[in-house]
Amino acid sequence: MSDLWFRSATELAALLGAGRLSSVELVQSLRGRAQALDGRIHAFNSFDEADALAQARAADERRASGRARGPLDGVPVALKDVIAVSGQPLTCSSRMLENYVSPYDATVTERLKAAGLVVCGRTNLDEFAMGSSNENSAFGPVANPWDTSRVPGGSSGGSAAAVAAGFAPLALGSDTGGSIRQPAALCGIVGMKPTYGLVSRYGLAAFASSLDQIGPLARTVDDAALLLGAIAGHDPRDSTSFKAEAPDYAAEVANRKGPWRLGVPKEFFGAGLDPEIGATVRTAIDFYRKQGCEIREVSLPFAAEYAVAAYYIIATAEASSNLARYDGVRYGHRSTKAKDAVDLYFRSRAEGFGEEVKRRIILGTYVLSSGYYDAYYLRAQKVRALIRNEFTAALQEVDALLSPTSPVPAFKLGEKSADPLAMYLTDIYTISVNLAGLPGLSVPCGFTAAGLPVGLQLVGRPFDEAGLLAIARSYEQAHGWSQRHPAL
């Protein structure tokens, strides 16, 4: 049934609830579309069809016998291949974990299954979530559904492309410096990085533990709210998990009404911003002004000038430590050419890791090494505090901050892959939000003349996801962007 591909999860849940659609039909329809088109997109690393259909049949049986687990029972969700699903591959798009099978479920996976969602499809990503274009996958890049000669963004490019292309209504990604929001913007969908600590990281392959958060990707704000509600909340297995129960976001979002006080960081509209994106985002800001919102210019000089530099010290330092576990001993790739035990580490890591991962481990090792720790790592942590402080001050004056999500629209495959620094600078508006631990959301706000999606980023106070979603929803409901889909 072709009319199912771009239905929102909210609509699909209603059809399932009314008995007008079965989960098996839905999974088969979406699977058929992916089988026909994913050869051109490469959103999925793997898809266990038998397992998906078994879950769908179980969901249909629950509904038939009046035991549905909730509104999303039977709705499919695709997971970035960096989140553990028991018995399924967990490759992180790396040769290192090419044959790894998860022995347990991540907490988010457990919660999705408990809510009845059909957890199916392992989505492609930049290896170990390190990248902004999805070109760093060991299994090949993902193409942007709006223009297959362009990147979908990264690192959750497979999740964003799967949702944009109509392969899945919902997906989870992870965001360390923009890895949910930037691909959501480049693929024309909604993506949210929750406040650090709202969603458990248990079962998420670690990249930079003080920055990583799992979050939803969807085609509408309501769908993102539903998915966030399914995964958020305290988890004793994650020591950084926030000790509070998450609200019912879908209900909260509908209750929150404007007008709001909104801040526009003036430094986020400076050099390096594509003029078409700047104009499109300013038009979106004007919408809020016309709705009676107070628009206030704010200043975030440290975030604008120093966030990328601080991030690439802190994130690579944490990555060099986290990825030390891949040593060829207990799991993952083991070299067959090693001369002795120590050589096993050197060769297994050389053979298992791709170029960007090696580059970041080297940089992270360097900034933590004796004689450089104070000058790089400690200083970056102090600059991080300054960035957090200026966000805190700005968000005392306003309810949320508005800016572009990405300074550029989807770029050509290969365009930036030879210049790591140019690639890192594409995260300039998203990275500071991770450093400050705040919630951030990207919502579609139009297209360039060439037909490429543009994303509006909203950043809010800690744990005010409901407020951010409501502000984004008020824009979305007045515009038709979520009804436009790529012609594939």
Partner: protein, 96 residues
């Protein structure tokens, strides 16, 4: 900042336990020099009196009762091991 941006790639690759090819060493040195040159701008920030921040929110140690609970069964824990024997991970000889 650190005065030099010329990272000793052999020294650092050894610390990171990664065998790099000569081509990788040349390429990474050049690219990471660019990155290190870029991050030198942090040296211009006045951080006098600023406390370093490891996490965005305060993080405290979490205690749990010292009680035995079921863990990962041995066969599950070993399923991904590259080599095993007698319920253990097999590795190259470490001590002669």
């Amino acid at each position: 900042m650190a005065g030099t941006s010329q990272l000793d790639i052999d020294y650092v690759a050894n610390l990171a336990r990664i065998a790099l090819t000569p081509a990788e060493k040349e390429k990474f040195s050049r690219q990471l020099d660019d990155v290190l040159h870029y991050v030198e701008k942090l040296g211009a920030v006045d951080v006098t009196g600023v406390e370093p921040m490891a996490h965005a929110a305060p993080v405290f140690n979490v205690w749990q009762p010292d009680e035995s609970r079921p863990g990962l069964p041995v066969e599950d824990a070993l399923r991904n091991a590259p080599a095993q024997c007698d319920n253990m991970v097999a590795v190259p000889k470490v001590v002669e």
